[in-house]
Amino acid sequence: MQPVIRWFHQLGSPPTFDRFAARWAPIAYVLGLLVMAYGLYGALFVVPADYQQGDSFRILYIHVPSAWMSMAIFALMAVYAAIGLIWRIKLCEILAMACAPIGAAFTLITLATGSIWGKPMWGTWWDWDPRLTTELILLFLYLGVMGLYNAIDDRRAAARTAGFLSIVGVALLPVIHWSVTWWNSLHQGQTISLFGKSHMDPSMLPPLWAMVVGTHVWFIGSLLARARADNLKREAGKAWVLKMAGTE
């Protein structure tokens, strides 16, 4: 068996995953924090104010990466859930369910920072605009997945049921993405593109990309930490957990 494939198989073992998560979660947290610190410094103190929006545009540096994370995490959650449903891999069920609170946190940041930006720019905290409304539905879907997972006693059945909801919910992601194109939206269209041309001055982009990378790395740390906690909860009473608890 190839070493990489063997490593993946070994990672599916709860004690191996616990050791892996315990080792890499703190590193991911620190790396994510460092990259975000660089991004935040650039966003707040280096880039010039926007000629129309003034300094309120600095909110974009946390709003946009959080919005991207809110959708990317949901897609990843659905992928893990699908793998968990099809191949019955317990670790994928755990990872899928660990995605939900982190995704909900980033969706909450997206909605809150968008609202705070909207007040001075649009003159209102909230509007039932297609982009805002679909993002709010995304938050409700995350909360639904979390609620469903915690409502069923059997952890594996709970993960499969909530995972199914996340797979169905993926249909919302393209609606969120293209809502500004499909409908007459108050929300601005796409201004930043990963591969194409961004409609933003290049001097303003480095802190944004730093924040995008930083939030992704932070997510890895948070995912590992949450999955580790859930893994320990499911394995409570097993010899390796009792042994490890005695040493930590």
Binding site: A105, W117, A236, E248
Partner: protein, 55 residues
Amino acid sequence: MMSYQNYVIAAYAVFGVVLAWDFLAPRLQLRAQLRAARLRATREAARSAAPELTR
């Protein structure tokens, strides 16, 4: 002086608070799980050390 300063501060504060919660929540869960495991290990050790009941 930054324009819209209060809005910028409020937005970044939300970001900081939510990420702080995201950092702390799994840590607290982990601590609770490890504490429960330690208590279980102590109980099991005490049970195995206790003399067996006789009729």
